[in-house]
Amino acid sequence: MGLDERVFTRTDDDVQLRRVVRVVREDIVRMLAAAGSGHSAGPLGMAEQLTALYFNVMRHDPANPDWPDRDLFFLSNGHVAPVLYAVLARAGYFPVAELGTLRRLGSRLQGHPERGALPGVESTSGPLGCGLSQAAGYAHALRNIDHVKRRFVYVTLGDGELDEGNVWEAAMFAGKYKLGNLIALVDRNNIQIDGATEDVMPLTGLRAKWEAFDWHVLDIDGNDVRAVVDALVLGQKVSWAPTVILANTVPGRGVPFMEYDHSWHGKPPTPAQAAEALRALAGGES
């Protein structure tokens, strides 16, 4: 796959964060092209969110994935696994070269993330709607049973995933128990497999929906890595309610022929398309 082996550490420098975002996007394109199957649009659009978490905001230790004092990350929309794998590899959880094994028989990089298969994967996911409630359960244990204040629980969800009833059961629960240590990111890219989210099942009044469940809501440009970092830090400060960050993103971000096109939700680029995508990423802003 021709991947370099660079590993990055925590940084608060915007230029460096954007550099990581670009490398993560390149990794995603290469991984998907090599695998020949998988989801493209979501992982590309979420590069800033996972970069902000793993290279700035979260307390974690790639050399010790089970560090008892770590923050927790749940990837509820498990089909965007390539972005998680790329970030974990670039943070040093496992060799970058292993990204080339995505979806192969015997690979630790399963089609959807599987706990125990790969260091850094906290929880098995893929079937949608289960991540927020697991994150809320963990946050409840920390905040209301063990009274641990310094650790946070983060979770990402897709916007299409919000069709799942389990999400709103969890939202009610987190609001009721005032889980101020829980921060959710909704990847608001407006697409899902069957088309535009607003055609498949409208999410009208999304901010008001979450506010009605007693959440603290932030609405940001999810493709601005600094905006994501700032929102996460603000979410940490709000201790009396869970925070949800509506991260408005462009699906397929950075690859012009994929951007805004829902047909790229669930398919990979061909080798030729991947080459074109990599040229676009090299010439783009991030």
Partner: protein, 329 residues
């Protein structure tokens, strides 16, 4: 392994107590023993007997409301954080309504979520078919990493709850609503895994689980009067199945009858058929519900209607013995 003694009065004048009451006592005791034990309920705290735990450990009790998918997935998160979560609702709803969440977040994830399905079987009675869970043994048994336990009486439910808390792993604990006879004694053994021969016999093995073990004991004593020597094997752990104990009995008797307050497909009957087909083919007569749902009525009326009382079980076994040859196939 200590001998499983039956309360000698049980077949004559049994003491009655709902199995779920034993669970409530066991959960409270487990909570006293281990502070990692937490309890979650979906708006059925008293009827699933979690109220004792809730009163004693309010901070360790979680009310999720009428939301069974959330019930088990929040529990998976608590388990991830080091807790031992017992979840409860009616079995018709959990695991009836949240099977995929149990599979993905507890079993695949290997988080020790304990799914306690109260009000399983037709003994729910008047609430009718929608509330009578009969498919739980089948749908839980097929999940890798899942244990399936159906205690035979309230004392055993108490022992089983403590045993699960002491050895946390994904587990389905099947409980019943109605008062049922207590046949075990406070000092009877319970371990996760073993099947317990309760009565020796040579002609047929009655293999029963949950509330049906008592009815099997009654049936065996009635068959005895008709010259049929029935062995009774109590299978509180449906998965992992104690194959050695079941096979030892079948090698002796050459014939199996399975008895469960559940669909005969996929549950205990299914498990025994899978075992015998592979390891020791014998005729297996399966007693339970035959590809139909329950209905409303008094628990005793329903047990009669579906021929799951000791007397009717004995009748059906006699008829079955007449119609098929004995011995290995």
């Amino acid at each position: 392994m200590s001998v499983y003694q039956i309360d000698p009065k049980a077949l004559v004048e049994p003491r009655l107590e709902p199995i779920r009451h034993g669970f409530g006592r066991g959960l409270l005791a487990a909570g006293e023993t281990d502070e990692r034990v937490v309890a979650l309920c979906a708006d059925l705290t008293e009827s699933t007997c979690m109220h004792h735990f809730k009163a004693r450990f309010p901070e360790r009790f979680v009310e999720v409301g009428i939301a069974e998918q959330n019930l088990v997935t929040v529990a998976a998160g608590l388990a991830h954080a080091g807790k031992i979560p017992f979840t409860s609702s009616y079995a018709a709803f959990s695991p009836g309504r949240n099977w995929e969440q149990i599979k993905t977040t507890a079993c695949m994830n290997r988080r020790p979520v304990i799914v306690c399905g109260s009000h399983a079987g037709i003994n729910v009675g008047y609430d009718g078919a929608t509330h009578q869970m009969l498919e739980d043994l089948a749908i839980m048994r097929v999940l890798p990493n899942m244990r399936v336990i159906a205690p035979g009486d309230s004392l055993e439910a108490e022992r089983a709850t403590l045993a699960i808390a002491a050895d946390p792993a994904p587990t389905y604990l099947r409980l019943a609503r109605d008062q049922t006879p207590v046949f075990s004694r406070p000092d009877s053994p319970f371990q996760i895994g073993p099947a317990y021969p309760l009565r020796e016999g040579s002609d047929v093995s009655l293999i029963a689980t949950g509330t049906m073990t008592y009815q099997a004991l009654v049936a065996a004593s009635l068959l005895d009067r008709h010259g049929i020597s029935a062995e009774v094997v109590h299978v509180p752990t449906v998965k992992p199945l104690d194959e050695a104990t079941v096979l030892a009995s079948l090698r002796k008797t050459g014939r199996a009858v399975t008895i469960e307050e559940a669909q005969i497909a996929g549950g205990l009957g299914g498990a025994i058929c899978e075992l015998t087909a592979r390891a020791h083919p014998v005729v297996v007569q399966r007693l339970g519900l035959r590809d139909r749902y329950g209905e409303t009525g008094a628990p005793t009326e329903l047990l009669e209607k579906f021929r799951l009382t000791g007397r009717l079980i004995a009748e059906d076994i006699e008829r079955g013995l007449d119609s098929t040859p004995k011995g290995s196939l």
